[in-house]
């Protein structure tokens, strides 16, 4: 099973991870903001993650770590 973790405080909410995710489970959390004032990226369904790391590959800010 794959696990995606976010260094939320570094996220700028650009959403490039959201576009990259083939399972559409990485999204921008519109309901809250991080310390920088951005809506951070989150994963909605950890169990559905296939560990492709597309989100991390697309992230310009080194926010995401993927484990399998």
């Amino acid at each position: 099973m794959a696990k995606v973790t976010f260094r939320e405080e570094r996220c700028k909410g650009c959403g490039l991870c959201e576009i990259a995710c083939p399972k559409k489970i990485v999204v921008i959390a519109k309901d809250r903001i991080n310390q920088k004032g951005y809506h951070p990226a989150i994963i909605t369904d950890q169990d559905a993650c296939i560990g492709c790391a597309f989100c991390a590959t697309s992230c310009p800010d080194l926010v995401i770590t993927v484990e399998k």
Binding site: C14, I19, S58, C59, T65, K68
Partner: protein, 248 residues
């Protein structure tokens, strides 16, 4: 097992880049390549002027901050002094293709054994979105408010095509970082450019099409589309010169 973690090729300093700017991705690819090739501890980064001016804070190796456009000349000095070190420049389009044209062309002509990472986002980012030598025809910028009029200010410079005509240059490729597949290809190209240097094959330049959401006035997502629809038409991806063919 970690399938994706931060490379040791970068320090942990947070990037100053705007949200969605793909400079961060390109930094990471370069850093991953340096780490994977095992050359991080003998690498010297030459930072340029523009948005990437602070790259010396991010690459986890020694660094020299060069004047606007002069990075290839500084790199030439560093490499001639330390031929066993890995010397690379990281330059934007304003830096490399306008003020630094001479330094770039002549480093290529000498087949200087350095690696040049050339980030083309068709605009001056750091100074707030002025027309770049690579801005597209009709592109609206702060200094081309009615669109780039090619009859008045000329056409964009296609760096990879131009350098492919320079006899000395070893390897010239244009890549993009607008989707996962292209990001992976970009990394392959960057790796090849550094491997060329390790193998003492000479001048390699990788032009990377990148976005500038802030100064393009677009969302990060729309910027990727704009890159796909407009940048690639003017700047087709591919290998423009490869003198290493047949060496393998």
């Amino acid at each position: 097992m970690e399938v994706f973690k931060k490379t040791n090729g970068l320090t942990d300093a947070p990037f100053h880049y705007c949200p969605g700017c793909t400079h961060g991705i390109i930094h990471r690819l370069v850093a991953e390549v340096l780490e994977e090739l095992g050359v991080l501890d003998r690498s010297i980064a030459i930072a340029s002027v523009g948005c990437s001016v602070f790259s010396y804070n991010y690459f986890n190796c020694d660094a020299i901050q060069a004047a606007h456009g002069r990075a290839p000349a500084v790199a030439t000095g560093a490499k001639r002094s330390m031929p066993d070190n890995i010397v690379f420049t990281y330059q934007g389009d304003g830096d490399l293709a306008a003020i630094g044209t001479a330094e770039t062309v002549h480093a290529a002509a000498r087949n200087e054994n350095i690696t040049v990472i050339f980030v083309n986002n068709a605009i001056y980012g750091m100074t707030g979105g002025q027309m770049a030598p690579t801005s597209l025809p009709n592109q609206v910028t702060q200094t081309s408010p009615y669109g780039r009029d090619v009859t008045l200010v000329g056409y964009p410079i296609k760096v990879s095509e131009m350098l492919s005509q320079v006899e000395g240059a070893t390897y010239i490729e244009r890549v993009a970082v607008d989707n996962v597949k292209n990001i992976k290809n970009a990394k392959k190209a960057i790796k090849k450019a550094f491997q060329n240097q390790i193998d003492k094959k000479g001048f390699s330049l990788i032009e990377v099409l990148s976005t500038c959401p802030t100064n393009w006035g677009k969302s990060p997502k729309d910027s990727l589309l704009w890159l796909e629809e407009n940048m690639k038409k003017n700047y087709p991806l591919g290998v423009f010169k490869d003198r290493t063919k047949g060496d393998e």
